[in-house]
Symmetry: C2
Subunit: 236 residues, 2 copies
DNA sequence: AGGCTTATGTACGTTAGCGTACTGAGTTGG
DNA sequence: CCAACTCAGTACGCTAACGTACATAAGCCT
């Protein structure tokens, strides 16, 4: 029961509503690179990450991709199910291996259409997701790779228990939609500045406040909006 | 009554649901540059554009802005009201003057929480909006100003009755989040190619198929998703 | 140990878009 | 009718990021 609280969204549900879902929540392990949702394909389940992180990516015809949002313990993968579209033109890829609860899509929809706390919660979450996407668009337009890398690191860090993440520069480049070499350069700067330490796919954050000083405003805008929309007081 | 059908979202509503709203829909004229929603401020009304176009913009601390989505007769301005957040960190600015229906926020919320066709419709629309934002993020990352201008022109054109739009290059630049000079250059290319004609704030589209040949895939992705999510057959 | 694979670092030249400055052509209003 | 203003076009140097190529280094497997 305590473990359920690891997903903030589920943790915000009143006990009796959670009780509805409890028997149907199935804990699964997500492995790095695993796809939870393919462009245009209907999802059978939605996922509530615990210590895993999932990236929502837009993939283009030429194979280039861009991360448009990231989902961790604070959210759920599969909003298109209850929004009514059933599918999306984006992909959901596991960016950091870990646990998640999964729930049959139909059961989530049933719960959603009861129009109770779960619906309110999911809608607020979706609005937060909207903000994250919007800010990603802005960041892509106006900010340097350096700043975007900081944003990405902080967003990931906020969704992980420790101060380490397992992620090659190649993969980060795919997420940000930039060259791998660009990530090498930016990460090098951060490393020389003593903010992070990089070691063959293992990143350790040494100086988080230092990262926060370098990041663009986009990070704070998104974080503030998540805090506002998903705090216990206002939602329920 | 026929006029109501000018807003596709309202037009998709079953007659009896529309009847609920009808007495409260107030036709207003939106003028170029008018703000319908400021960052963090609660909206008193939502707007269903008829022949007007509204841009959703993210404005940054330094004043630079980027359009994250555009709303015309196919949609509604103010999704944050029914999504539960009440406010958003973005602005809504009238990009093309014209008519719209407006509706008191509270009335829309009441209708939404009846959990009938209006709710389903608004949620599907919100998902389409989500896709538009995601694709804007991708486009900002990967495509040239030339392509983005084409996308922008086509998106606008799809929401206007004729083949003309009133819009200075300065304003387009603000929308796209690029320099005014960049727009001049790109628009110049389109003009020399005989696709558009530009005249002190008055653009006439001469060769729409030509534009469609130059535009990046982002335009089609978004259009397809709007068609899929908001066609009469699936929604009701 | 030694060879293979994968991850990272570095070094080019190229280019799109930026910042800035200025010109000229329409439009408006006194 | 002329001044003031707005809008569009052009030019030029600058920088961030790109594409490409190659070099090291760290882990992995036999």
């Amino acid at each position: 029961m305590l473990e359920l609280q690891q997903n903030a969204l589920l943790g915000l549900l009143p006990e009796e509503d959670l009780a509805h879902l409890l028997p149907h929540l199935e804990q699964v392990t997500l492995s790095l690179g695993q796809s939870l949702s393919e462009s245009g394909r209907q999802m059978s389940h939605v996922y509530f990450p615990l210590d895993s992180i999932v990236s929502l990516l837009c993939v283009m015809e030429d194979g280039a991709s861009t991360e448009i949002a990231v989902v961790g313990y604070e959210g759920v993968v599969g909003v298109s199910l209850f929004m009514g579209g059933e599918t999306t033109p984006s992909r959901a890829i596991v960016q950091s291996a870990g646990k998640a609860y999964r729930l049959k899509g139909q059961l989530l929809k049933n719960e959603f259409y009861r129009a109770g706390p779960m619906q309110r919660l999911l809608l607020r979450y979706t609005q937060a997701l909207l903000t994250q996407m919007a800010q990603t668009a802005v960041c892509n337009r106006h900010h340097s790779v350096d700043q975007q890398l900081c944003r990405w690191l902080l967003l990931s860090l906020d969704r992980l228990p420790g101060d380490k993440l397992i992620m090659t520069q190649e993969l980060i480049a795919n997420m940000l939609g930039v060259r791998r070499e660009g990530v090498t350069e930016s990460a090098g700067k951060l490393q020389r500045a003593g903010l992070i330490s990089y070691n063959r796919g293992h990143i350790t954050i040494i100086d988080r406040p230092g990262l926060e000083k370098r990041v663009c405003e986009c990070y704070a805008v998104v974080k503030r909006e998540y805090d506002r929309l998903l705090n216990h007081h206002d939602v329920m």
